[in-house]
């Protein structure tokens, strides 16, 4: 492993994680294609490195979100029961579904997510707080966060929790099947089902990603699929990038985060459809 290769791995991971951290999603989804396409790293090492990077990214960017009171910790642990259960089902299902089907499904999910995020709806930051009835109150999940752009605290309510749990289960399942971080599914799920402010969705998703990834990462680690010379520089780059991304998220507006997210979703969907229709470089993932 030369100095040049390590530096390249570090730089690529830094860029991927800065973008990922800003959007509340992990860098794995970028790292696997970049490593296999441009880096000629074999697919198993790429996935192993990407899983470590997913955890590093999530842990490294969590602190500023937590201190900024953007992360809803109680909601996160509750939703993690669904994401980890989904991941567990995914691990059990691996190998029974053809990879090309999986990429097609993922592509469709990304397109639907992008469309939902583009759809106009009332900004929860401006909507009046509705009466606190229903299941969410028994779990005491409603909270508030300080919005820098608005310059005041914004109270929000967690809505439609059962639907959110179902979507989280699906997010955990699909991400385990595809071997990537699941922020790209968690953020739209929280946005559409629970109707949270996008910054709270991003921060809470980022917080949850490490726990969702932990089970599969543990299995990879135990089996020796994580190759240190690849995973090491990638993990280091991810930490640096994730911290950078979190800083950027706090100082830009909700609408810009939403637009950037939609652009990335569409780009990834195109990538997934290419993989579904016979681009062999991506086939080995699942």
């Amino acid at each position: 492993m030369s100095t040049g290769t390590e530096l390249w791995l570090f730089t690529v991971s830094l860029g991927a994680s800065a973008l990922g951290g800003m959007l509340g999603m992990a860098s794995g989804i970028f790292i696997v294609p970049v490593l296999t396409l441009w880096g000629h790293v074999d697919i198993r090492s790429a996935i192993g490195a990407s899983i470590v990077s997913v955890i590093a990214c999530s842990c490294g960017s969590a602190a500023p979100f937590l201190k900024g009171r953007l992360t809803n910790v109680r909601l996160a642990i509750l939703l993690e029961t669904a994401t980890t259960a989904g991941a567990l089902s995914g691990v059990l299902l691996v190998g029974t579904i053809p990879a090309s089907y999986l990429f097609f499904i993922f592509g469709m999910i990304l397109v639907i997510s992008a469309q939902q995020m583009l759809a106009k709806r009332r900004d929860p930051a401006l909507a009046p707080i509705q009466s606190l009835t229903g299941r969410s109150t028994t779990w005491r999940l409603d909270s508030s966060y300080p919005d820098r752009a608005l310059g005041r605290d914004v109270a929000y309510r967690v809505r439609r929790l059962p639907m959110g749990m179902v979507l989280m289960y699906v997010a955990g399942l699909i991400s385990a099947l595809l071997g990537i971080g699941s922020g790209v599914l968690k953020v739209p799920a929280m946005d559409t089902a629970l109707r949270l402010p996008i910054k709270v969705s991003s921060a809470t998703s980022n917080f949850m990603i490490s726990v969702t990834a932990a089970a599969s990462a543990g299995a990879y680690f135990v089996r020796g699929d994580i190759v240190a010379p690849v995973a090491g520089p990638v993990a280091l780059g991810s930490v640096a990038g994730a911290i950078l991304g979190a800083r950027l998220l706090m100082s830009i507006s909700n609408e810009r985060v939403r637009l950037l997210f939609v652009v990335v979703l569409v780009a990834l969907a195109a990538q997934m459809f290419l993989a579904a229709f016979g681009r062999d470089w991506f086939r080995g993932i699942a």
Binding site: A63, V73, A235
Partner: protein, 99 residues
């Protein structure tokens, strides 16, 4: 009982854990780069140890949350945290069995 502010505590643990794992990985990479060996371990094994720390960090975070919920006598959420922890361990077990 004084309520514990959970967020700064979690932020601290994740921060320290991330730094620790990163420093171990960086040290291992420098060692392997110059093809040197520590008196105990080759560089790549130091990197692997750092990666192991990263894998353990989220599990430590869930254990910490479980402890805090128990201390606060918030048994509803203590059960939730315990379920998450058990699910992660089940994932490890599947990985080991599928070896």
């Amino acid at each position: 009982m004084k309520p514990i502010r959970i967020e700064p505590l979690l932020a601290g643990v994740l921060n320290v854990g991330t730094w620790l794992a990163s420093v171990v990985i960086a040290a291992g990479l420098v060692l392997s780069l110059f093809h040197q060996r520590t008196p105990f371990l080759p560089g790549t094994q130091v990197v692997t140890a750092g990666i192991g720390l990263f894998v353990l960090l989220p599990i430590l975070r869930v254990i910490l949350m479980l402890t805090i919920f128990l201390k606060q006598r918030d048994y509803q959420f203590a059960v939730v945290a315990a379920v998450v922890l058990l699910t992660i361990f089940a994932g490890f077990a599947i990985g080991i069995l599928a070896k």
